[in-house]
């Protein structure tokens, strides 16, 4: 069952005011409708990732991103999974997150320890300056969802430990802003792998 976790805030870039937003655990039909009717047309129209996907789909069937996307889609399509999160504001889905709770750390200092793995974290295309330039609407979706993943990690008694793979354009955020550990390029996923220690999770939420 879709469950309201808490009320948060997002910055409306145009009005420069903070607005109330809601974090939900589990998705429902409304979220899927938003992805289909609101996110998809804009993503396709701006042809940002679309070109990459199309090239990948037409070319090498072994493309790790395409296979990964299909797996994430399967996880998403299985409604009732409590490892999915939606962030809503102004009645629309602003962000999406999919996590795995059976995952283990690679970083030496916490090798083998349980952590929350962020499988997918996406913000609505209209929130991305890179895609829509000056028309970008809300800021903060990424920060809210990463913080929520840390919440989950604590709830499961993993003390805030996290891991994720980052697209190139987000690497500097995780490395320089969040100060998570960059474990380097992962050949299998073709992305940079980051891990978060207990101390790093605490530092992220402090200040």
């Amino acid at each position: 069952m879709k469950e309201l976790l808490r009320s948060v805030v997002l910055l409306n870039r145009r009005s420069k005011e903070f607005e109330d937003a809601q974090v939900f655990r589990e998705l429902d039909q409304k979220n899927f409708d938003d992805f289909e009717k609101l996110w998809k047309p804009l993503l396709k129209a701006r042809r940002d990732e679309f070109d990459t996907w199309e090239a990948a789909a037409e070319g090498d069937a072994q493309d790790s991103h395409w296979k990964w996307a299909k797996k994430a889609a399967e996880a998403l399509a299985s409604l009732g999974r409590d490892e999915t999160y939606a962030l809503e504001c102004a009645g629309e889905t602003q962000g999406l997150m999919l996590v795995k709770t059976s995952a283990f750390a690679r970083l030496d200092v916490q090798r083998g320890r349980d952590l929350v793995y962020i499988e997918l974290l996406a913000t609505a295309p209209w929130n991305r300056p890179r895609l829509v330039k000056a028309e970008a609407r809300y800021k903060g979706v990424g920060r809210v969802l990463v913080a929520e993943a840390i919440n989950l990690s604590h709830h499961l008694e993993f003390n805030g430990r996290l891991a994720l793979h980052s697209l190139p354009q987000s690497e500097s955020w995780y490395r320089d802003i969040a100060k998570f550990t960059d474990l380097g390029y992962d050949e299998e996923k073709e992305m940079v792998y980051f891990e978060v220690t207990e101390a790093q999770a605490a530092a992220f939420l402090a200040g």
Binding site: T101, S102, R113, D114, L156, E157, F158, N159
Partner: protein, 64 residues
Amino acid sequence: MTLMLSDKEMSLLDRLSESRGMSKTALVRQALRLYQSVTERLEAGEKVFVEKPSTKEKTELMVL
């Protein structure tokens, strides 16, 4: 539900929860999640392997 665990099993539970830094309840919950995840894969016809990175040697973990 009361878990009827032997002394040996309780001792294992203690050790694991200590080394993983979780309460026994949290650990048992995680164990359930792991078991569920493996079960889903096996039921879907997939296999679960353990790999030795140095030699790339694979051993099948469980067979349904």
